[in-house]
């Protein structure tokens, strides 16, 4: 990690280390005492990065990034919310145990500096089981799940690609006034919002105190988006199909003439 950091000529390093006997994210400046650096705990560095960037000024930052961090950073950079020119990635390949714990299908960063890539299953048992259910069983299942939601917003605040300061789900426009549980629409609206950017990091599901299988929902919607538009979140180039014309044109900067 140190070698990669040196090579990247960054001013800061975002990683995790042991703090007071626990693991915590840390932002190191050049020359800081690194302490006991840790890569064995899946912190969503992209999410933390978004929060520290406003305080960095012109400093360049290196981030220890797993594949999901990398994709989230790409999604945010594409939207102009991060400046990819100032960010270097120290690619961290997750180990088999981590991959299986995250039910990750895409664990290998585009450039690996730490660890070795392991194979991942493209399918997810939880998703397969849910899709095997009949429509009425699904409704029964998800109604029960959504009823558990206590609207803590853990899923939104831990999401690396959820970027709004104020969430419209905090208002009563689309969800009933009564409050908790927030009704059937809450997690579906979130699904639509994440449809063109979710990187399947699983933070929402990990954060959920009610154990709602949100990662499975994300994976199912991502699959729909891929089927409908051939679009997969996580690259820094492709404009979201939900924003473009049927020819894939956006009004901005696209002078392609047919």
């Amino acid at each position: 990690m140190r070698i990669a950091f040196e090579e990247m000529k960054a001013d800061r390093l975002l990683t995790a280390r042991t703090e007071h006997g626990n693991v915590a994210p840390v932002l190191l400046a050049r020359g800081d005492e690194p302490g006991e650096l840790r890569t064995d705990v899946p912190y969503q560095m992209a999410n933390i990065l978004l929060r520290v960037v406003p305080y960095l000024g012109s400093d360049k930052i290196a981030v220890v990034a797993r594949r999901c961090d990398e994709k989230a950073i790409a999604e945010m950079s594409k939207r102009g919310l991060l400046d990819s020119g100032k960010i270097s990635l120290i690619g961290l390949a997750c180990d088999a145990e981590q991959v299986s714990e995250c039910r990750c299908s895409d664990p290998c960063p585009s450039k690996v500096h730490i660890g070795e890539c392991v194979k991942a299953s493209p399918t997810d048992k939880v998703v397969e089981d849910l899709l095997a259910k009949s429509i009425s069983e699904r409704l029964e299942f998800w109604t029960a799940q959504f009823r558990k939601c206590n609207k803590c917003f853990g899923c939104t605040s831990n999401c690396p690609v959820c970027f709004c300061d104020e969430c419209l789900l905090e208002e009563k426009t689309f969800t009933p006034e009564k409050g908790i549980p927030p009704g059937f629409a809450f997690h579906l609206i979130r699904s639509i919002h994440l449809a063109d950017k979710c990187v399947e990091c699983g933070e929402c599901e990990r954060a959920c105190p009610a154990d709602i299988p949100l990662l499975a929902l994300r994976k199912m919607v991502n699959r729909d988006v891929k089927e409908l538009f051939g679009f997969v979140s996580g690259d820094g180039e492709t404009t979201s199909p939900l924003l473009t014309t049927l020819d894939g044109d956006s009004m901005e900067g696209d002078n392609d003439v047919c």
Partner: protein, 565 residues
């Protein structure tokens, strides 16, 4: 905030009242949240109806109004005006359609139609309660115009603008003006000298100190909005930026080249109508037996339209051939002769009287052209004789349609104006706004829009000029207040709206609350595409906010429960 809503249910004579129980709906509306007055009118839009609405607004100190009657598409301005006359902002008015969308389509279901009318009124009341007063913006107009294309329609438009004293830039991609007319000597059906027409229009342009003719040039960029366009004109290796209040698209059409059809491009002596025009103009005809085939490449699958000018051109050219050589034989092989109007009809009779032969063919049995030595043979199934005949000829003329020029898609993207499936530009409304685009301040005329005759080019050019001169002479444009507006406090500057806006009207800027989207009011057309792209409701369309539409959904659910009780 307490609101004082007035609801007015219209009988529309029997139109609504014979199906919907108006009295019942009036009573129901009285119980809706915020309603302090509910009444009915025999004809709300009549002078009497409007007076009574205004009286009720005053007497009951109403601050918002719902009229349940016909369609806002025709009558909204009437009621908005009435509201304004008694001091209610016209954007605090909501129209509920219980005629077209209820009584007329449910004539036999009185009970259900009445229930539906109640629901629709409840939805309207829910929306009006949340409406906000709006101010219509005003914007200055640059007193200049740009005409793209210097064919007959473009020149006509430019001349009309210049005659009104409006500074006009004319941008022509070719090195000379005139367009298609350059190849034509005489315009039918009434024998107008084409070159003289071009000459006189060009003279008007050249004499005017306010004209700027850009030849061998094209517009490469258009920014801005009605009243304040900024165009980049590129030509002769130079780039010029021009400000304009209005833009007229007169890019015209081109003659379809029917490569490979009827021996065109393969057999000597098979030419297009425009090539015949040139030959006739030169006075060196040579050929004595001439067959003109109409509808080549038009009125068939893939290009279904009638090009409208070819029949008259064929008739005119047939007569001109006979003028040049009275002993020549001319046959017009056609599918139908469309020579509408008295002058053209006269021309048809003349051609017929002077011996031009008309042979009708069908789409399933098209003529075939082959060569036998020096001469051409057109084999055609004559529908009248019910048999095949051979027409020997020296010259076969293919009357092909006017098609959209290859670069019209480029123009369309540049100006952000729509085209139809054939590549012609699409006007805002075929009857009500025929020379305007839906984009304010951009106009269209001539064959850019649809194949038209020379006469129509002049009319449309002048019409477009007249329309374009309205904002220029008024000096101000009013912007309807249904535009999108950003709450910079909420905006996360993700750019979803920027990408999805069909008008490029949104940009991300630095604001007091950090980076946020900003809508250029004058560029915004109020479609709301950005609104649906925004994740946290930071961008809203005035008069169609998500709170207002959300309230309508809630009201529908509530009303359904109430009326089915």
């Amino acid at each position: 905030m307490t609101v004082r809503i007035g609801v007015f249910i219209c009988h529309c004579g029997h139109n609504i009242a014979s199906t919907v129980d108006v009295e019942d709906v009036v009573e129901y509306a009285k119980g809706l949240p915020g309603v302090v007055y509910s009444g009915r009118n025999l004809y709300s839009c009549s002078q009497e109806g409007l007076t009574s609405i205004k009286e009720s607004i005053k007497n009951n100190e109403l601050d918002r109004v719902v009229v349940a009657a016909c369609t806002p598409r025709t009558h909204e301005p009437v009621f908005r005006r009435a509201c304004e006359q008694v001091g209610i902002n016209k954007y605090l008015f909501e129209f509920v359609n219980i005629r077209e969308h209820c009584s007329w389509i449910h004539t036999k279901e009185k009970e259900e139609a009445t229930k539906k009318a109640k629901k629709l009124v409840a939805m309207g009341v829910a929306k009006v309660a949340l409406l906000e007063p709006q101010e219509e913006g005003e914007s200055d107009v640059v007193p200049k115009a740009v005409v793209i294309g210097a064919g007959l329609s473009g020149l006509s438009a430019a001349a009309a603008l210049l005659n009104q004293g409006i500074e006009t830039h004319i941008v022509e991609k070719e090195a000379t003006v005139g367009g298609i007319l350059r190849d034509i000597a005489v315009i039918g059906p009434d024998d107008v000298d084409a070159q003289e027409l071009i000459r006189s229009l060009t003279e008007t342009v050249e004499k005017s100190p306010k004209a700027h003719l850009h030849l061998s040039s094209k517009v490469t960029e258009l920014k801005g909005f009605i009243g304040n366009f900024e165009l980049t004109i590129e030509g002769g290796g130079k780039e010029e930026t021009v400000q304009a209040g209005a833009v007229i698209v007169a890019t015209g059409g081109v003659e379809h080249r029917p490569e490979g059809e009827y021996g065109f491009g393969e057999l000597k002596g098979v030419i297009t109508q425009l090539e015949l025009e040139k030959i006739l103009g030169s006075g060196e005809l040579g050929a004595r037996r001439i067959v003109i085939i109409n509808c080549v490449g038009s009125r068939q699958p893939g290009r279904e339209y009638c090009s409208r000018v070819c029949c008259n051109a064929s008739l005119k050219n047939a007569v001109r051939v006979l003028d040049t050589d009275p002993d020549a034989s001319v046959t017009i092989v056609h599918r139908d002769i469309m020579s509408c109007g008295t002058v053209a009809e006269e021309l048809y009779r003349e051609a017929s009287d002077r011996g031009v032969r008309f042979v009708r063919y069908g789409l399933d049995q098209r003529p075939e052209v082959s060569s036998e030595g020096e001469q051409l043979v057109v084999e055609v199934f004559d529908e009248t004789l019910d048999e095949k005949i051979d027409l020997e000829s020296d010259l076969v003329v293919l009357a092909t349609p006017i098609v959209s020029p290859g670069d019209s898609s480029e123009t369309s993207k540049l100006l952000k104006v729509p085209r139809d499936k054939h590549g012609f530009f699409l006007e805002a409304h075929v009857k009500l706004r025929p020379v305007e685009f839906a984009t304010d301040g951009v106009f269209v005329c001539g064959s850019a829009r649809w194949p038209v005759s020379a006469r129509e080019c002049i009319w449309q050019g002048q019409a477009a000029a007249a329309k374009a001169s309205i904002p220029i002479s008024e000096g101000k444009v009013v912007i309807e207040a249904i535009t999108a507006v950003v709450d910079p406090e909420k905006c996360a500057a993700c750019g979803n709206c920027v990408i999805s806006c069909p008008y490029d009207a949104i940009e991300i800027v630095d604001t007091e609350s950090g980076r946020a989207a900003r809508v250029s009011e004058a560029q915004c057309k109020g479609c709301g595409t950005c609104v649906a792209a925004c994740h946290n409701d930071a961008i809203q369309q005035k008069g169609f906010s998500s709170r207002q539409l959300g309230a309508m959904i809630d009201a529908l659910i509530r009303a359904t429960a109430e009326v089915s009780r």
